[in-house]
């Protein structure tokens, strides 16, 4: 199953990157969202999947899944959320200020 999840994460990366290479702000942001999902799935896979109970200690159970990746993912989810929110507001402001949400029209030149 680890391989399948790796492939799934890879597909998420691929679609994320395809979106990142688009010109519209919304698509690019969706791309970053997918990217973080892909990254989190990779972290999850790196601990072994489904080898035991959820890492909540209970009497009589000695077999748990790897808790560390979960902790790392949790941190990462929160951080990604922070960035995504900032990005959304920023994108909104950029789009209204520059009157376009097309990145190809947001090129600019040297002397500004």
């Amino acid at each position: 199953m680890e391989f399948i999840i790796s492939i799934l994460a890879g597909i998420l990366f691929a679609t994320a990157i395809y979106n990142l290479l688009q010109k519209q702000l919304l698509r690019i942001i969706i791309g970053t969202l997918l990217l973080s999902h892909g990254a989190h799935l990779f972290i999850l896979t790196m601990g072994e999947l489904k080898r035991g109970n959820p890492p909540i200690l209970t009497e009589g159970v000695s077999n748990y899944t790897d808790p560390l990746p979960q902790a790392l993912i949790l941190t990462s989810i929160v951080i990604s959320f922070g960035i995504t929110s900032l990005l959304l507001v920023l994108a909104y402001r950029t789009a209204t200020e520059n009157e376009t949400d097309n990145m190809e029209q947001l090129r600019g030149n040297d002397n500004e």
Binding site: L12, L21, L33, L68, L86, L88, Y92
Partner: protein
């Protein structure tokens, strides 16, 4: 000696203060004391019993950078030139530069230069030498740009800096190479261990690097082009830096290192060719100039070439002649520059086409010029030092040793003829300078000012120099024994005793060469107008100057073109380049290091639910690409997020699943909030080519990540540190939810700063929104 070297630099700091009183006291007067004192300090070393003096002061001993001063014959010669001519130049400048000029700046730069130059010739430590070397370039840059409101000054200053610092950096490279080879930074120790250097395969490289430094500084062909443009500097500067001292630093460098390299045949070939070509080209070009200072500039180039060639020959006779000529050239060329300055000062122009017949107005200057130019031309008179050095030069060209390389042997044959060729033109431009200015028809009406003789003070300095010309001419052996021989000895490494005599008889080949020069030169002078058309063919438009200008223009032009080509501001392009690079290089490394490992042994079983969830996620992820509306795209992206949280549930991560659910919901809401008002997705498609590249990049990158992920998972050499967490969560962490214990305890720092990130994001969002509102209000 440290103090002597640094005194000008330190006293330069007081100049801005002194120059405040320039209307009461010309700043040059107190400055004059400095070079005079230094001259007096060093003159006492002159004598037959001179022995090299060493002094060391620590600076950065751990890097082998120390003030190791070494005063041998060669440095003594240079030190005396620097301080002696320095004093005369300062004296001259007092009359040359009026009090309305920015005297403070001028003398600060000049003193800076003096320190730097003394440092160059006295340092035994290569890195200290390099430091002072660059300081001479910098001060020269400032002095050339002294009248920086003139476009040409700026151009000349930049040109000289680029070329000399280019050479300086190259020399620096050579120095480092030498220090890596020998493990020392002292030139004298290197000389003692020269066989280590000679046996190193990198010796030619080091030599090339160092010679590049010397050739650029001493204006050797094809790097000579900066020197004529450096004539934009005030004339005292031209006389001092660009004729007597700084440009000779390159010669000094070659002389200093010749004990190491002279055994190598390439040294002879490169240095002699550079020197002799420069000699010929410089003297040939000098005749074509119309600006008095430009004539002198090309003449300097040519004379430097001659000395360089002699250093390249490397025979005792040649080295002796080279050292002797360094002294002679400083005297006559210095005086000529000063005369040119006087002419400029008193007539308002340096254009030789407007000048002429000044003899009657300026008899003193004319007389000084006469001695200077005749000496330079090498006219056989017993009171002109130029003749002696020219004879020594000719003689040295005749006694070149044969070598192993065919080029060497060709050079041995060709050099005497080239020497005569160059000298003929030297003769021509010398007389052209003299008669064009002082002889011929008077054209007073063409001059901006009515000409008259210069004030006496201005004549003193050139007079002293001409006196030098004559004294050296009359008593060459007085100078010879006391310090020329010491200097030559320092270069050649063996004792050199040379008697200089005037008369060698008609049968002496050197004398016959001189006669040829005088005869052919005289013919060329009288027919100059007829053959001067030759200059429109050589160099014509293909001159080195054009190449320099083209390089600079192209540098600006190409860099702009190139940079705007890829720095388009397009995020897509940036991302595409970044992604492709990471993809290609990482893939390359994976293949080369045999990184791909797939191990099926340690896997969780595959179940239908998981596959189903995975397929939904895949479908939704692909769906985001094809969504046509904002709302649709956002919701589909949401599906991916919920799918992932479902996976978290399946994979025994309840906390993650919950968090993911909440975050996903809030994110989707935020998305909708922000993008509801924005225009809908633009569904015009990119060109097929772009889409294809995008597709390739994304699929490639995704595959790569999958492969690395699988390999990383399959590489199972070590256990994880997680077992410890499971063991200690309850006992040490006091909690049963291990993930929570890790978050708040074992990795509490992560969590603290994760909260900080959220906090900063909140503040940032607030400030982005608020600032906008404030702006709207204004």
């Amino acid at each position: 000696m440290l103090y002597i070297v640094l005194i000008p630099l330190l006293l330069a700091c007081t100049i801005p203060f002194i120059s405040k009183f320039k209307h009461k006291l010309h700043t040059g007067i107190p400055v004059l004391l400095i070079p005079s004192a230094i001259f007096l300090y060093f003159i006492r070393f002159v004598g037959t019993g001179f022995e090299p003096v060493r002094q060391s002061y620590e600076w950065i001993p751990s890097l082998g950078i120390n003030f190791n001063f070494y005063l041998d014959g060669l440095s003594l010669l240079f030190v005396l030139l620097i301080s002696g001519i320095g004093a005369l130049v300062v004296l001259y400048s007092i009359y040359y530069l009026g009090r309305d000029e920015r005297l403070g700046h001028f003398y600060v730069y000049l003193l800076m230069f003096m320190s730097a130059m003394l440092g160059v010739v006295l340092s035994d430590n290569i890195f200290v030498l390099y430091t002072f070397w660059e300081l001479t370039s910098i001060s020269s840059f400032l002095l050339i740009g002294y009248w920086h409101f003139k476009e040409k000054s700026r151009y000349g200053a930049l040109k000289s800096m680029l070329i000399t610092i280019f050479g300086g950096l190259s020399m620096f490279g050579g120095f480092i190479l030498l220090s890596v080879m020998t493990g020392t930074s002292s030139i004298q120790i290197m000389i003692q261990n020269s066989e280590v250097i000679m046996n190193s395969p990198y010796m030619p490289l080091a030599l090339g690097f160092i010679l590049l430094g010397a050739f650029t500084k001493s204006a050797q062909f094809p790097f000579h082009i900066w020197l004529p443009d450096a004539m934009e500097a005030p004339t005292p500067v031209s006389a001092y830096l660009h004729s007597a001292t700084m440009v000779k630093a390159g010669l000094f460098l070659v002389a200093r290192f010749s004990p190491i390299f002279s055994g190598y045949e390439g040294f002879f070939i490169i240095v002699s060719i550079a020197g002799i070509v420069t000699l010929c080209w410089g003297s040939y070009m000098a005749v074509h100039q119309t600006d008095l200072k430009a004539i002198l500039a090309f003449s300097t180039i040519s004379q430097l070439g001659m000395i360089m060639a002699m250093l390249g020959f490397g025979t005792e006779a040649a080295i002796f002649a080279a050292v002797f000529h360094i002294l002679c050239h400083a005297t006559f060329k210095g005086s000529l520059f000063m005369v040119a300055g006087i002419v400029d000062h008193e007539t308002g122009t340096r254009d030789i086409r407007k000048l002429g017949g000044l003899m009657t107005f300026m008899p003193m200057s004319a007389a000084l010029a006469l001695f200077g130019t005749f000496s330079m031309a090498g006219i056989p008179l017993p009171f002109l030092n130029g003749f002696y050095s020219k004879e020594l030069f000719f003689k040295s060209t005749l006694k070149l040793p044969q070598g192993a390389h065919p080029v060497t042997n060709f050079l041995v044959e060709a050099i005497p003829y080239l020497a005569v060729f160059g000298s003929i033109f030297t003769f021509v431009y010398s007389l052209y300078f003299l008669f064009g200015t002082f002889g011929g028809k008077k054209q007073v009406d063409k001059l901006p000012k009515h000409p008259h003789e210069a004030p006496v003070g201005m004549l003193i300095a050139p007079f002293v120099l001409v006196l030098g010309v004559i004294l050296i001419g009359l008593f060459p052996n007085v100078f010879n024994g006391t310090f020329i021989a010491h200097a030559a000895e320092a270069v050649a490494g063996t004792t050199i005793v040379k008697e200089i005599t005037f008369w060698h008889g008609f049968e002496s080949t050197a004398f016959q060469m001189s006669l040829v020069v005088v005869a052919l030169g005289a013919i060329l002078v009288s027919t100059r107008r007829k053959w001067s058309k030759v200059y429109s063919f050589i160099p014509g438009r293909g001159s080195i100057n054009h190449i320099y200008d083209a390089i600079i223009a192209k540098l600006d032009n190409w860099s702009t073109k190139m940079t705007t080509f890829y720095m388009t501001g397009s995020l897509r392009l940036y991302m595409a380049i970044i992604l492709s690079t990471i993809f290609l290089v990482t893939l390359g490394f994976m293949l080369v290091t045999d990184g791909l490992t797939i191990d099926y042994s340690n896997l969780a079983p595959v179940t239908v639910t998981e596959i189903a969830v995975a397929l939904v996620i895949v479908a939704a992820a692909i769906g985001t690409i094809f969504a046509k509306k904002n709302l649709g795209a956002i919701l589909i992206a949401g599906v991916v997020g919920y799918g992932v949280s479902l996976l978290f549930v399946i994979y025994r991560a309840p906390d993650l699943a919950l968090t993911q659910l909440v975050v996903e919901t809030v994110s989707v809401a935020l998305f909708l909030l922000c993008f509801y008002h924005l225009p809908n997705l633009d569904n015009t498609k990119d060109p097929a080519g772009t889409r294809l590249t995008n597709g390739i990049i994304s699929i490639g990158f995704g595959t790569l990540m999958t492969l690395i992920g699988i390999s990383a998972h399959s590489s199972d050499w070590f256990g994880t540190i997680s077992d410890y967490f499971l063991e200690t969560s309850h006992s040490l962490g006091g909690g049963d939810n291990v993930v929570n214990v890790i978050l708040v305890d074992m990795r509490g720092l992560d969590t603290l700063f994760e909260i900080a990130v959220l906090g900063i994001a909140a503040l940032a969002i607030y400030s982005i929104i608020k600032l906008k509102m404030n702006k709207g209000a204004k």
